[in-house]
Point group: C2
Chain length 238, copies 2
């Protein structure tokens, strides 16, 4: 969930703490491990693998049996599910502090999605057995993960309800307001193609709806996916 309100600390990489392994950084930033002491975090960091990946790299493919528990440290990652018929459905975009891959190791099922970087990205990976050990040893991590899963479940159910109870325009507007998160100007995190699949429509329909919203003066579209909300109140009414 990128929309969480905790601040995203900038990655001023060179500071090294008392236990100064470079992997510590990765663990220190993450809310999931916020309840641990520095020494405990260091212990976690020992079994974590850090990777820096270029733009548009696949972290792991859909169907891989043993996807690691992955924590995004810097950059953005998109999660996409590909249906048997070949339809691409975007699930969500991860930002710094977000976690993916918990369900796979908790239920021992293979990854049901592809994870791809949208820009240069740094991640921390924990393999299944290490992650399991972690949860047993540190109840605070387990509890935070519980809360995280509950939040995500709520958000996914909300998403699902929208899909059946609102029409395309309403879903698009709801999504814009969610991404805006109070701001009046912002940039879409993905291509419009992906945005369309996220809200459950086609690029063509999305394009037409956005144009219509602009014609009526509710929004203003700029280059590079820039969006300006002219009348957020009116949008919220729909």
């Amino acid at each position: 969930m990128s929309s969480r309100s905790e601040p995203r600390r900038s990655t001023s990489g060179s500071t090294r703490g008392p236990h100064g392994d470079h992997r510590d950084r990765c663990v220190a930033v993450v809310p999931l491990f916020a309840g641990l002491s520095p020494a405990e975090r260091h212990e976690v960091a020992r079994s974590a693998h850090q990777r820096t990946l270029p733009r548009l790299t696949v972290l792991y493919p859909q169907g891989s049996d043993d996807p690691p528990l992955t924590i995004v440290h810097r950059g953005r990652v998109k999660l996409v599910r590909i249906s048997p018929a070949g339809h691409e459905q975007m699930l969500r975009v991860l930002g710094p502090g977000d976690v993916v891959g918990e369900t796979a190791f908790l239920t021992s099922s293979p990854a049901d999605h592809v994870a791809t970087t949208l820009e240069e990205t740094e991640v921390c990976e924990l393999h299944r057995s290490d992650a399991r050990r972690l949860l047993e040893r540190f109840p605070s991590v387990s509890n935070r993960l519980l809360v995280e899963l509950a939040r995500r479940l709520e958000s996914t159910e909300r998403h699902l309800s929208r899909l059946t109870s609102q029409d395309t325009r309403q879903r698009i507007v709801a999504h814009l307001l969610e991404v805006a998160d109070g701001r009046t100007e912002f940039r879409l995190p993905t291509t419009k193609r992906d945005l369309a699949s996220l809200v459950g429509t086609t690029p063509e329909t999305l394009s037409r709806q956005l144009a219509a919203l602009q014609d009526r003066g509710w929004i203003r579209l700029g280059p590079r996916g820039a969006v300006k909300l002219v009348d957020a109140a009116a949008l919220a009414e729909l």
Copy 2:
């Protein structure tokens, strides 16, 4: 998740163990507490409230701030979300052993759905503070809940993907096969009206699609929501 494979023990109510409080039964049956010793279960049972509810009773309304953690012991409960516009969307049906209300106390948000009994039902309720204490005290409960949430998240995401990548007929068939769970004859757990909202369509469309499936000889519909799968293999092909 009613489709889990753990057996549903019948409620032969009169056996009372060494700690024979009648509330023990309620706790003993539930997978969530399977990792606890009898003494520990007894402790849990002390803070649990048992209720027996007639058919079509509301457990708690949508929007209530402090819905209890509820465990179904006997009977069936349907979860429905009502959109601001008044649209009813059915989320899922709970059977014995299923839990609801964890997200509300984990995220401290109000209930986003109504829970209603479909038949006479016995439930166990734990209030927010008691449930919190429980998770702190018994890591095994916390871990089981974690797995339960992960399963549900997977299932909800699968449901969501279907909604965008499959047409109405495919969703209906997928749902029938899921409810069938290997059997060739079974009874629908809810009214067709609710089933329609669950798969994201209207009763009219559902009715037509089922009739079409019957015409082509894939299924046979009986009274009282009875369904017989004549050619499950062919159905799975769609």
